[in-house]
Symmetry: none
Subunit: 127 residues, 4 copies
Amino acid sequence: MFPIDVRDVRPIYEQIIDQIKEQVIKGILKPGDQLPSVRQLAGNLTVNANTVTKAYQELERQRIIETIRGRGTFIAVLPEKEVNKTKLEEIRKALKGNCIELHYMGFYKEQILEEVSKICEELIKED
Amino acid sequence: MFPIDVRDVRPIYEQIIDQIKEQVIKGILKPGDQLPSVRQLAGNLTVNANTVTKAYQELERQRIIETIRGRGTFIAVLPEKEVNKTKLEEIRKALKGNCIELHYMGFYKEQILEEVSKICEELIKED
Amino acid sequence: MFPIDVRDVRPIYEQIIDQIKEQVIKGILKPGDQLPSVRQLAGNLTVNANTVTKAYQELERQRIIETIRGRGTFIAVLPEKEVNKTKLEEIRKALKGNCIELHYMGFYKEQILEEVSKICEELIKED
Amino acid sequence: MFPIDVRDVRPIYEQIIDQIKEQVIKGILKPGDQLPSVRQLAGNLTVNANTVTKAYQELERQRIIETIRGRGTFIAVLPEKEVNKTKLEEIRKALKGNCIELHYMGFYKEQILEEVSKICEELIKED
DNA sequence: GTGGTCTAGACCACG
DNA sequence: GTGGTCTAGACCACG
């Protein structure tokens, strides 16, 4: 279901979170869609159930998904978009780090914007 | 010297690496410039000397700085720009993650590119 | 009949119990009034019949309702008011926890009492 | 250090969270104070380190404490007091439940307010 | 069958 | 020595 890479530097639970958020943004997962149960997904990905639990809990905290007692876990209606200043600064720092790395590989502004543009294109459907 | 933030989620050694790379890219630090000794910098930043050592070692591995026995540590001539495919993929993943987070805050392609554009502007001097 | 919220953190059976107790206190349900059958209520609320059963059993244990074989379930005469010391301590702990949370939101004693006062007002008819 | 009660219905990690928040509100723990390490506290309370970790992570998420890499965990400066409407509603529901229980024990408005008043008195220092 | 809590214990990154 | 991640597995509440 999700391409999990145990060799990835990012922890597994974070990869799961990102995969689900990406599918929500792309519209592959829609509000009300049921997610596989913790144990099911853990089985599919051959990771521990606790790892999936951690991912689901974080997604619930972010109001991306919601758990209904005894029924399972579902995609929530899209949460209010709100700008968290602290988080925005964190993302800017991360982006800056990425730009520095790309520049060390020989990329200039034009090419960097081109990369980001391609990523957005693939990801975001403009309304 | 560097604005190090012990509360930052990023490890301190990584912050040091990024600060130095940024200053090199901006031309504030030039090839041949001497860096403070490990102990000096550790004292200035009030961090553990091992932390600075780790940062310097990583920078040396990336050929950003070089150590001359008995003399000290210096900014190296800019390394050959070369595209490491694995690393490029990693950066793309990171950029994608950041774009997803920005989109969840309400940003669309235009605004995301605007953010990245501002970062590049501040960072990279076009030759 | 009752506003049940499957998304609520509280278990459904607890919500049912609370709703019935609230209606009894408010005098909406009076001793002798018949309650819907387990299946009926389960159907109305679109919840599992076991869930309603559990709520009714707990209410019966607390002598709030009583089941008469072959006839159905009825509101009992108000049980003797008795102070269970253990339970009182539990409620105090819960109240303390709520006061802490309210204080973290900026509420002081006056405002907290105001909140509780409004709740009592709406709930309890002084004899 | 903290009175943890394994028989308590509330999960252990929640009891730890509440204890720390209470001590912060009472001024027993002040900004900058170091908390015992995860392992230390786990040892003292004879609970598992993971349980303490969970409590600390939740407290960090609420910005009550902060972790500094390799140094330990500290009480943060008091977070901005902000009213979360959803959470306020949850607390009101909980308070209502408590009032109902108290009323079933024979308490009327005056006595309930008296209880809450005593709790606030012990807890909150008016500025 | 669903998720939630907790344990015991391993291994890792960071300082 | 500090916290972070993950596993394997137990037991529980809820439906």
